[in-house]
């Protein structure tokens, strides 16, 4: 670049030097010469002119004018060394005097002043041009030097500008050009100086660069695209297990794509030729393949063939398509490894067979449920023909055969792509239905879109029936078909749950729980046999069922205990009317085994939710109400009341307090004397339990015995009573009253206690009491539960030597018929019969009959509740052996009782009050 600049600048420098030399050595001298000539010519003509001008002043003698003129001229023309005017006679007119100093005179000019050929004077001019010429030359030299300097500066400026405006930008752009050559198209194009005149050049360069870049980009893109296309083709062929080939039959040249090698099981990296191409084709197929090649090579056309290829892993299937192009005389085509497809086809065949011959009914529908396929099992199960079903909507999925909720759930589930499994009703061709366990599986296509549903049906009618039966067994009473306790609790729980719902609360509708049992069912069972009892229960169940609405629930809780759930009910009156309807229904006579039977029932009612919000409390309350109904004389209904509730509270309190009371000695025994009615002697006493409660005072037995009975506390309490009685016997014996007999009441629960016998015998032994002094009183109802067991127990008691008495005889279903079979010693006539003596003849007759009957059965009789002398006399007259009652004495503590007794040594004929 510098040499280039030198080349550009050097001629300019040379030109300047040449011009300088020319001026110095040629032009300046010649100019000098010329200048001298010009000056001389000028001066000569000046002198000539002067001579003419001076003519007149000289003639007139106006020397002042002459001097004026010449002085002025001399002053103006510095190179005029000396100008003289000499008159024709030699008189010097001008100047006044000749200066003495020597003059440098280069030229001398002379001219005459004449007037009409007469010489007046002569003008002589001495000129020195040297200083002038030197001055001029110096001036020109200076000019020359300045010009040279300016030229030089111009050259330098040009060089600098050249460098700045042209060379440097070119240098920079050369760098850019080199970068472009390296492939960098995006380095910024260097900035060129403004107004450098290179705008067009730079613009053109930029356009060229951009154009090259664009072309390069296009080319790169094309190359990339080409490569991508090639790669994609190869990839897709490889993935598709597809290869292509080309064959020129003329020169037998053969080409195939890389992907062909694994398909044809050819060794990699070897160039396949026509012959090699067929190397691994199964020998059985190679002939036909070659034949196809030859055929299209000769006759044109195309072929499509499948053949097998031997590989190390066995056979693979290849599908080949070939075609011949007549214009280029070449055959070409593709090969595809279709082994997988073959496998799939095989699998599909298997699967298809599996479905076709499946033991389950299989249906395939499209997404809107149109049937596309059913297997033979389906047609067999439903009786439909295949043709009748295809294109139809399956009944099984229709709204008609399932609840709305189920329908919604099913379709929502399967349309969401989830499997659905459940039981559905299916329709047979004959119109009958059957239950199927149905599994619906949505099928999605490769895009995840639902396309079909596969519906597999298993006939579960039998299973369902069995299940229903099991459910029946689990939730229903086998005997009556009513709900059992479990189901009843469940229904009641549902009702209570519903009550919590605001809608239900707003309605204010409630329910009622009724608990009832048959009065004296035990007796019926015992007397008429279990068969009749069962029949009776079934009949009662039917009547209950009929008396209720469909939505009400009747359940048998056990034995003869039934529970009813009535809901909804408007008010207590409605409940009461229902209860009365039920009572009436039960009271109507039953015809069982050709015998008419009439029963009554006691019914307790608890209202929901007034009397409880828990099934247990409701039933407990209904139970309390029922007991009250029983206590009030049976065959009636009672609502649960707060007082009953209080009873319940008491029940719970006593339950809690009694064991403590026993330990604290709050229980005590009072003794009511029993008197020999004939002699009036006290023969013994009935031990009656009392509870001296620290807060409640003396609690009567009915208030706590039933509680003790129910809670089981009666067992220890009974033991205490027996033990206490025995202690009393011992004391009496010690007091010399060894013949006194004490009777103790046994409750039903105690009576059934297997430990009873051992307990009593143990106490008797411990106290050293003779068993015959102890009498056990039992009620007749106690016997009705299990007569055989009762007899056995009684016999064991008797075997011990203990006397057994039947208490409260006459008020139950007492029957002499079975009384005679019982091992008992004493019969106690209930105070109910005694109290109205002598006002009620009936009672008197009954009492007489009882006494007479007892005697016939070798039983001694004790009359209870004797309060008057009349009664005592009546009883005595009827040979009633013993009596007890207020007529003789109220129940007394042991000490007081002892005080009643006569002194031991004396005969005990005096009886106390």
């Amino acid at each position: 670049m510098r040499s280039f600049q030198t080349k550009l600048v050097l001629p300019l420098v040379l030109l300047v030097v040449l011009i300088g030399a020319f001026v110095e050595f040629y032009w300046l001298p010649s100019w000098q010469q010329q200048e001298v000539e010009t000056r001389l010519t000028e001066d000569r003509s000046s002198l000539e002119l002067l001579s003419k001008v001076l003519r007149t002043p000289i003639i007139t003698g106006d020397l002042a004018a002459v001097y004026d003129l010449l002085d002025q001229l001399t002053v103006e023309r510095s190179h005029w060394q000396n100008l003289t005017l000499t008159r024709e006679d030699g008189l010097l007119l001008y100047p006044l005097s000749i200066p003495n100093e020597a003059l440098d005179v280069s030229h001398t000019l002379k001219t005459d002043v004449r007037f009409q050929d007469q010489l007046l004077a002569q003008l002589a001019l001495s000129i020195n041009l040297t200083p002038y010429l030197e001055a001029e030359r110096d001036r020109l030299r200076m000019l020359e030097l300045i010009l040279l300097a300016v030229a030089l500066a111009a050259v330098l400026l040009i060089a600098w500008l050249q460098r700045q405006l042209v060379l440097k930008p070119i240098e920079r752009i050369s760098g850019t050009a080199r970068q472009i050559a390296k492939g960098d198209f995006y380095s910024p194009i260097p900035v060129h100086p403004p107004r450098s005149g290179l705008d067009d050049f730079f613009h053109a360069f930029r356009v060229m660069r951009d154009s090259i870049a664009e072309k390069h980009e296009e080319l790169s893109q094309q190359i990339t695209e080409r490569k991508n296309a090639e790669r994609r083709l190869n990839d897709s062929q490889r993935v598709a297990l597809l290869g292509c080939w080309e064959w020129h039959a003329e020169d037998n040249s053969f080409w195939c794509s890389e992907s062909m090698y694994p398909i044809m099981h050819l060794p990699e990296r070897t160039l396949a030729d026509y012959k090699g191409f067929f190397a691994n084709i199964h020998p059985a197929d190679v002939g036909s393949v070659k034949a196809n090649f030859d055929r299209i090579a000769e006759a044109g056309g195309s072929f499509d063939v499948e053949f097998r290829v031997n590989t190390a892993n066995g056979l693979k299937f290849v599908h080949m398509i070939g075609q011949h192009d007549d214009n280029s005389d070449r055959s070409f085509g593709t090969c595809q490894d279709v082994s997988e497809r073959k496998d799939i086809e095989s699998s599909l065949r298997k699967l298809s067979s599996a479905i076709t011959y499946s033991g389950s009914s299989v249906m395939i529908t499209d997404i809107i449920g149109t049937i596309e396929y059913v297997n033979p099992k389906y047609t067999e199960a439903t009786g439909y023909q295949l043709g009748e079903l295809l294109g139809q909507q399956p009944e099984i999925l229709s709204r008609q055969w399932m609840s709305a909720g189920k329908y919604e759930t099913l379709w929502q589930s399967i349309l969401a792509g989830k499997n659905w499994r459940g039981e559905l009703q299916s329709l047979r061709r004959d119109g009958t239905t059957f239950w199927s366990l149905v599994s619906i599986s949505p099928i999605k296509n490769e895009f995840g879109e639902l396309t079909h549903f596969v519906i597999v049906l298993e006939d579960v009618s039998e299973l369902k029936q069995a299940h229903a039966k099991m459910e029946q067994l689990a939730l229903y009473d086998e005997l009556t078909g009513l709900a059992n306790r479990r189901l009843f609790y469940s229904k009641l729980g549902n009702l209570l749950d519903k009550l919590d719902e605001p809608a239900q609360k707003a309605k204010g509708k409630t329910g009622a729980v009724m608990l009832l049992d048959l009065d004296y069912f035990k007796t019926i069972n015992d007397t008429r046999g279990h068969h009749i009892g069962d029949e009776l229960l079934k009949a009662v169940a039917r009547r209950l069922r009929h008396a209720l609405h469909e939505e009400d629930v009747a359940a048998r809780l056990g034995g003869d205990e039934f529970a009813l759930l009535i809901s909804p009910v408007e008010n207590e009156e409605q409940v009461l009317s229902i209860a009365e309807r039920i009572l009436a229904a039960v009271t109507r006579p039953f015809n069982l085994d050709d015998a008419e039977l009439q029963v009554t029932t006691s019914l307790g009612i608890a209202l929901v939710p007034k009397d409880g919000t828990e099934p247990d409390s409701l039933l407990k309350h209904a139970d309390l109400a029922m007991y009250q109904a029983k206590e009030m004389g049976r065959n009636q209904c009672r609502f649960f009341t707060e007082s009953l509730h209080e009873q319940l509270q008491t029940y719970m309190r006593f339950t809690r307090e009694m064991p403590v009371a026993l330990e604290n000695g709050e229980f005590l025994l009072n003794y009511q004397p029993q008197v020999d009615l004939k002699s009036g002697e006290i023969i013994g006493a009935e031990a009656l339990i009392r509870w001296q409660h620290p807060e409640l005072g003396l609690v009567p037995p009915p208030a706590f015995i039933s509680v003790a009975e129910e809670t089981g506390f009666i067992i220890p309490l009974g033991r205490w009573v027996v033990a206490e009685a025995c202690k009393a016997l011992r004391e009496l014996k010690a007091a010399g009253q060894g013949h006194m007999r004490i009777s103790v009441n046994l409750s039903a629960r105690q009576f059934r206690d297997p430990e009873l016998i051992s307990m009593i015998s143990q106490i008797l032994a411990d106290e050293g009491i003779s068993p015959d002094l102890l009498e056990i009183e039992i009620t007749e109802t106690l016997l009705m539960h299990d007569v055989k067991q009762a007899i056995a127990t009684l016999e064991q008691l008797q075997a011990l030597g203990i006397t057994v008495a039947i208490d409260d005889f006459g008020i139950g279903y007492s029957s002499f018929n079975y009384l005679k079979t019982l091992p008992i010693n004493v019969l106690k006539v209930d105070r109910e019969f005694i109290k109205d003596i002598p006002d009620h003849l009936d009672d008197m007759e009954i009492t007489a009959a009882i006494i007479s009957m007892a005697h016939r059965l070798n039983l001694s009789v004790v009359a209870e509740g004797i309060e008057t002398e009349v009664q005592r006399v009546f009883l005595e007259e009827h040979n009633c052996e013993y009596g007890q009652g207020y007529l003789f004495s109220r129940p007394l503590p042991l000490d007081q009782f002892k005080a009643l007794l006569p002194a031991p040594v004396e005969c005990a004929t005096d009886t106390a009050e």
């Binding site: 106006d62 020397l63 004026d68 008159r87 006044l96």
Partner: protein, 278 residues
């Protein structure tokens, strides 16, 4: 060519536009000077004076002169000049024939004519001048010509060949160069000559004194203008610079004059030596 003519035309137009406005503003009066020296010297002396006056005057003065005294007198006698600085004797004629009035003059001294010879010319007394050529500025120059010629002719009875050489300076040069044996001038002009010329000259004779050259005015010039010129010149004469200019004329003490100051000239018997110019 066209461009040049246009430029020229523009110049004329500008001149026409500008000059008349000046003309309209200021009246122009001619002020002529008798050429006692060469024309160049006359202008060199008077041009600054006129410029000073023009700066102050309500009108404008145009400086004029003539190539020689004779032609000047001729123009004067035609009455062409409004103001003029003239030969005192010439005033007599101008006053009588044209009505010119004197206004101002140098009051310092009066003119006396001098007769000079070349110091080394060998002429020591007047008698040696008989039949010799004598240079005079012009025939009608009062001191330098008329008075001297009267003295030479009447007092010394000498006959000379007068040679009229246009100006006082020429007179002194002719004498110094020896062209003429003697020359007539006035003291004032002699004193104005360069030293190297004066060194070569000697005065042989002086005439009696006559009044100095006056500034005269033509009767057509208004009294205001006359008065204005007098006032201005007298006022400027107080100025140092203006005094220096006047000394070159030479005027040493400017003051007002009247025709009566010049009337005595008529008694000098110079008529014979006066030459009518026409």
């Amino acid at each position: 060519m066209k461009y040049c003519s246009l430029r020229w035309l523009w110049g004329v137009l500008c001149f026409l536009l500008l000059v008349p406005t000046h003309g309209a503003a200021k009246e122009i009066y001619s002020f002529a000077i008798v050429p006692q020296y060469s024309a160049g010297d006359t202008f060199r002396v008077w041009q600054p004076i006129i410029r000073h006056l023009n700066d102050v005057l309500p009108f404008r003065l145009a400086l004029e002169t003539a190539p020689d005294i004779s032609s000047f007198e001729e123009l004067c006698e035609d009455g062409q000049f409004d103001f003029a600085f003239v030969n005192p004797y010439h005033l007599l004629w101008l006053n009588r024939n044209r009505g010119y009035e004197p206004l101002l003059s140098d009051r310092s001294g009066r003119i006396s004519g001098v007769l000079v010879t070349r110091r080394e010319g060998g002429i020591a007394n007047l008698s040696q001048l008989d039949n010799q050529s004598v240079a005079f500025p012009s025939p009608n120059s009062l001191g330098a010509s008329m008075m001297l010629r009267r003295d030479l002719s009447e007092a010394f009875q000498l006959s000379v060949h007068p040679r009229y050489v246009k100006s006082h300076s020429s007179v002194y040069l002719n004498v110094a160069l020896g062209v003429t044996a003697a020359g007539g001038g006035v003291q004032k002009t002699l004193e104005q000559q360069p030293q190297h010329i004066r060194d070569q000259l000697q005065v042989l004779h002086r005439t009696e004194e006559v009044p100095s050259h006056p500034v005269v005015v033509h009767p057509r010039v208004s009294q205001d203008a006359r008065q204005a010129l007098v006032d201005v010149m007298l006022k400027l004469a107080q100025n140092e610079e203006f005094q220096a200019l006047l000394r070159k004329v030479p005027v040493y003490q400017l003051g007002p004059v009247s025709f009566s100051d010049y009337e005595p000239l008529q008694q000098l018997g110079l008529e014979a030596y006066y030459e009518e110019q026409r």
